[in-house]
Amino acid sequence: MILKESTIKEIKTRMVRYPSRRSAILPALTAAYRQVGHLNNAVYKEISRVIEIPYVEIAEAATFYTMFPKHEVGKYLIQVCHNISCSLRGADNMLLYLQEKLGIKMGETTPDNLFTLISVECLGGCSAAPMMQINQDYYEDLTREKIDNILADLRAKADEEGK
């Protein structure tokens, strides 16, 4: 089993709030993603058993939505908005800076498995551009200095947790 008891419990708690079990697909994918860090076929199978919806329906829905990574990523998934409002505030150069800082290219993960860097479409932080999302959290009005601090903080946090 990949899903923890607590995740299954959360899925089931959410499921009963809807008139139809099928509606629990997205809440289940979200809960699973937050626990596992990504989604895959094995996770779909488990969700299928938990909410009693055919496996194919879970896979169809999951692959439609782009927010959930479908393969393993680093501990911190950095998603940088590259849409218009952020781009007008230097998002392209910010991406270059991040790549340089992390020593990886777009789509790659640092060798210590700490950071994965990708660019994404608009995250709804337009008035505080440029911005990025790391796992669940938004980081806005970014500057080089802020990025340095954020990455340092995350590294420190990871060290503390003994990774």
Partner: protein
């Protein structure tokens, strides 16, 4: 927010998301009044009278929308609150959900009472983990106080509110796709008729309203129609939050009366052009709306004036572009988005946006060919008005507009294999 706030007076109060603060600030009074003094049809009449229009983009009168819901079909009626804010440039609903979630909940209560719904869903885009947590926290507080659930304020009215988060798909902000997604299916839009008001969520009558629309309801009932109509214009009453982004000194969310000149928002509230740069163009209502040019900067921000100026008020996302920007590059950013977000259901959008993306990227990359502009425009003709939902149109409108106003930049690109304007916004 620095300007005079009307609906969102307390939005900057760090405790406003807490129920006690909200109540302290006069919260949950409107719903009590409505439950006590109004019959559901009277609520609808009142909302109609107020003239409040949908703030999601289309500007459809909210009261009229509610009146389409058939009563006594034997089926439950649902409210789906659209918080899937994903149109590039738009970040206004997020502010409400993060900072004043109870105002949204109170608005939802008013709407549900009016349309006789006992089950409401707040669909929040999946990336908005924090706003969603705030709203869910507020919902839990409201349940704990007995403001949600059974027999609300001893009125006999029952209401359950469920927070539902998405999975990363712009299309789910389109109302029928939102319903598909809420039902657990892929977020494909569906053909109308049947309209959601008649056959929506789980094939039951459903109203879909934007977060901002619903959030404006408590003030209307607290302060009255006259007060509401004293803001805004005759046909576009009230205030609206505009998300100002791009090359201005103070980007941010600003609430102003509808009908306020665009220039006021950019120059006064937004502190003018970033570092004194020159205004080149404005995307006034979210990335899908046609451009306004510098000479149109005084256009009033209301539905009618924006239409007259050849664009749309849309979601109220004002994206300001300065002279450093290559318009081919800017359009590429937009078209990449629409191609990425096409759900894949109808042919013209699925294939057409992908082709536009290829063509525009090719021009931007210095590989454009003679005839590409004409080809792009012709492909646009084959997309717009040909699809189930407006996503196809949303890709075409900026494309046409960018080419209309900046054709020279596109031609320069094709001829010289490079930008006329070298875009390189610094990151410091």
């Amino acid at each position: 927010m620095a300007q005079e706030l009307v609906f969102f007076k307390y939005i900057d109060d760090p405790n406003q998301h807490k129920i006690d603060t909200y109540i302290e600030h006069g919260g949950y009074q409107a719903i009590q009044k409505v439950l006590k003094d109004f019959k559901p049809p009277d609520v609808i009449a009142k909302v109609k009278e107020s003239g409040v229009r949908g703030r999601g983009g289309a500007g459809f009168p909210a009261g009229l929308k509610w009146s389409f819901v058939p009563q006594n079909t034997g089926k439950p009626i649902y409210l789906a609150c659209n918080g899937d804010e994903s149109e590039p440039g738009t970040c206004k609903d997020r502010v409400i959900m993060e900072n004043d979630p109870h105002m949204l909940i109170e608005g939802i209560m008013i709407c549900c009472y009016a349309i006789n719904a006992h089950h409401a869903f707040i669909y929040i885009r999946g990336e908005f983990a924090f706003p969603a947590a705030r709203v869910e926290g507020a919902v839990n507080e409201a349940y704990a106080k007995g403001y949600l659930g059974k027999n609300i304020f001893n009125s006999g009215f029952d209401l359950d509110v469920v927070v539902h988060t998405g999975g990363g798909a712009y299309i789910c902000g389109e109302e029928t796709a939102l319903l598909s997604s809420l039902e657990g299916s892929r977020g494909n839009s569906r053909i109308r008729p049947p309209f959601p008001a008649v056959s929506g969520l789980y094939k039951c009558p459903t109203v879909i309203n934007n977060v901002e629309t619903l959030s404006s309801l408590p003030s209307i009932f607290n302060n009255g129609i006259e007060w509401y109509r004293s803001h805004g214009t005759e046909k576009s009453p009230g205030t609206k939050i505009f998300s100002l982004s791009g090359n201005v000194n103070k980007p941010g969310n600003y609430e102003v009366d509808l009908g306020t000149p665009l220039s006021y928002v950019i120059n006064e509230l937004g502190g003018g052009m970033q570092d004194g740069h020159k205004l080149k163009a404005i995307i006034p209502g979210g990335s899908s709306t046609p451009l306004l040019m510098p000479d149109q900067i005084d256009t009033p921000l209301d539905y009618e004036s924006m239409a007259a100026a050849g664009s749309m008020l849309g979601s109220g996302a004002i994206i300001v572009i300065d002279e450093r920007c290559c318009m081919v590059w800017a359009l590429m950013k937009l078209i990449n988005f629409y191609a990425h977000e096409s759900c894949g259901r109808c042919t013209p959008c699925r294939e057409g946006t992908a082709w536009l993306k290829q063509l525009i990227n090719r021009i931007e990359n210095g590989e454009g060919q003679q005839g590409d502009i004409e080809l792009i425009l012709d492909a646009c003709d084959n997309i717009i008005g040909r699809t189930i939902c407006p996503l196809g149109d949303a890709a075409v409108m900026p494309t046409r507009s960018f080419i209309k106003h900046f054709r020279d930049e596109f031609e320069y690109h094709i001829e010289h294999k490079t930008c006329k304007v070298k875009t390189d916004y610094p990151f410091v």
